[in-house]
Symmetry: C2
């Protein structure tokens, strides 16, 4: 499809620093990529004539920007949204989450992932890093939704199907996809033996795929790993060869100076999940320090049972405001840097550095159009601050992924939402009856 | 107007504890008040026949609940939304906020307040406590918008017009209103002399009106008051007679054990503003302690220049999640208590205990209908948690204040938004040209 957005404030996210280079202009899409970015009416007109079949989209004065990248999620856990809140962590896991999950079929996982993809796309999140088992079922959901994803097959010592079943099945499916890539996800240092962690490293090398894992989420994890190995989770995983520039490390809440240095030196991408860290009382990650020390910091929602939604705009606000109060520095994680975390940095984390998360000719066309004709967008002193600190998921009117429209006028093109809602309720009722 | 809501999940907020008494049912409104609350079809049918002119509203399976009460705001500061972000507090105030505000006319303040009221009503906030100068101009905006408000004339030593000009003018206007009440607002202990604080107490007694003020927002304030009076801001204001059950104390971030005891013993209502406290690095208020010790805790957005929006749903999430991470207790401020803060507790703070913030026969009809036909509302394990942790401003489809619809199908009935946006931009351009 060939598209031409006109009458937009373009937020390209190509500037390195906060002098954001917004402009009123035109953006053209041809095939999977952005083919035109211009502030010149004459250039737009020439491009339009060269593409007689182009569909012209009126941006209505709104903001056109890169789609957001959610670097840590468990999409199927939408089925556990608001299932178990306001509980101590181990009660939550032992009495609620794990028993519920033990009843999930692959088809349930597909339904949960579809629900998650629907929520994310409607809110302008175009890429996701997912970590769960049966990722081949998640693949089907993501493929159907039109979203971009890095799907990582999760394993722990008591569940090792990722190696022989999930990952081969997922790799086969991904071979035919331009939008979906496969990865591996050891659950964490405290749930995987050193043998199984090393096995993960070997598998990533063999298949040439990235990895994601949970690192230093809670103080309990620090204690367990300290007792077991006499070192921090970061040092432990580094000693086993997991830390490199193809690893996305979720959480990283409790870090020593050495831990931060190691993460930086290895080029690890950090997926900061502030809402989850707040809601389950994990702690406050030292994101401002990591960021200023040169670590690539990105943002993730985590799963909906510890959030309770997949709203990257709220996640962004938390990523900035929590740092401001924790460091007592109102300049921490300023607006433009915050937007970089969810666009440019997220794209780099999923292996698309420079060709995603920006509005630039030649980049992959993952675009979000925001309707700014609402009170919370006015007045417009500063578009970057408006987007970072005021934009809402419901402001998203159009979403393009890999050059294809997936949301139009705030509605999903590839989903039957009432049927999806009914299916999710049926799953919940079935599992409730089993317990 | 007579209204009958049908096909709703009613969240009445009348239960004391978290066993929230939601039910599928009908709610009737007659004049300014709720006249019917029932789960019985036969009762609803009888009421409908007794009211042949009733307008029946199909809730489409959504949630019907009390409108939210925002207990701390500076509505006119919408004009400074995203005007000056990511700055140290004193730079922000001295170089940006105060110079900008020095150019505001009463008509500008009215426009800013209209913009704030529009944003709040669209998001389901039906009552607001506002603190600013020229509240008689804010009155005109609130009256036009259809919102409920407690408007408090602000003063400090260098600006004392509240006593002789603003308050008399506002009281005269309020005399004819069922929705709008007047109050007085000394800015803070550090900006008002003891003489002017005592003068405020006397004025509140004379006119029989409530008061609001900023208390213990920052460590700087603690230090200044400590140096000036040898005590905490709470103790200082108590010694001057300001603390009682008709005072709304905004912020209360830095409190000693004694401060908390005094607030509780005096029956002071606390307006917790977590987003503002986070964004300008004020600190984390001990809300979980205050709440469990018996202080009436409510929620406020503060002004849009330190937030940057007036979204009470995001404010609620921050009020809970920030406590959970600060106390390292995931059970802190659980979902139902959180909703009480923004409904029942807020209503008590503005002098409407028992007759507002609840869906109960005889209560004032301030109601919000939420559209739940969206992915982030599914599945529905727990309606209370869904509302507290997932609801969005944009889910609000209908809002009734004092028995009158003000929002229908997500649109304001009494506002010309494009004209309002243009007017706010004109003000900003005019002030920019002056500087």
């Amino acid at each position: 499809m060939t598209l031409l957005f006109e009458n937009c404030t373009v937020l390209p996210m190509t500037a390195e620093r906060s002098e954001a280079n917004c402009f009123t202009g035109w953006v053209g899409v041809e095939g999977r990529r952005i083919a035109l970015v211009t502030a010149e009416a004459s250039e737009a007109e020439r491009w339009r004539k060269e593409h007689p079949d182009v569909r012209v989209v009126d941006g209505c004065g709104g903001v056109l920007m890169p789609g957001l990248v959610n670097t840590h999620c468990h999409m199927a856990m939408t089925l556990e949204r608001s299932y178990a809140d306001d509980m101590a962590l181990m009660t939550w896991l032992n009495d609620c989450i794990w028993p519920f999950e033990s009843h999930l079929t692959d088809d349930d996982i597909r339904t949960g992932a579809l629900l998650g993809a629907a929520e994310m796309l409607l809110g302008g999140t175009t890429s996701v890093v997912d970590m769960y088992w049966s990722e081949e079922a998640v693949f089907d959901a993501v493929e159907e939704s039109g979203m971009r994803a890095l799907l990582c097959c999760s394993y722990l010592d008591s569940r090792l199907e990722a190696f022989d079943r999930d990952l081969p099945a997922l790799l086969e499916k991904c071979a035919g996809s331009t939008r979906i890539r496969a990865g591996l996800a050891p659950h964490a240092a405290y749930t995987c033996s050193t043998e199984n962690l090393r096995r993960g490293v070997a598998a990533c090398e063999r298949y040439d795929i990235p990895m994601t894992t949970h690192i230093s989420e809670t103080l309990d994890e620090q204690r367990i790993i300290g007792e077991r190995y006499g070192m921090s989770p970061v040092a432990c995983l580094d000693s086993l060869g997991l830390l490199n520039d193809r690893l996305i490390a979720a959480h990283c809440v409790h870090l020593s100076d050495d831990d931060r240095r190691i993460l930086r030196e290895r080029g690890v991408h950090v997926a900061h999940c502030p809402t989850s860290n707040m809601k389950i009382s994990s702690g406050i990650a030292p994101i401002e320090r990591l960021r200023t020390e040169g670590v690539n910091c990105t943002v993730g929602t985590d799963g909906p049972s510890s959030n309770n939604d997949l709203d990257m705009w709220e996640e962004l606000r938390n990523a900035s405001f929590l740092q401001k109060v924790a460091t007592m520095d109102p300049c921490a994680v300023p607006a433009y840097e915050l937007l970089r975390m969810a666009t440019v940095n997220g794209a780099a984390a999923i292996g698309h550095a420079g060709e995603l998360g920006v509005v630039r000719e030649g980049a992959l066309a993952d675009l979000v159009l925001l309707d700014t004709r609402k009170p919370h967008w006015h007045p417009r002193h500063d578009v970057v601050a408006n987007v970072a600190y005021c934009a809402k998921a419901a402001d998203v009117t159009m979403v393009v992924v890999d050059g294809e429209p997936v949301v139009e006028e705030g509605r999903l093109l590839h989903a039957d939402l009432p049927a999806l809602f009914e299916k999710s309720e049926t799953i919940v009722r079935r599992i409730a009856a089993l317990r």
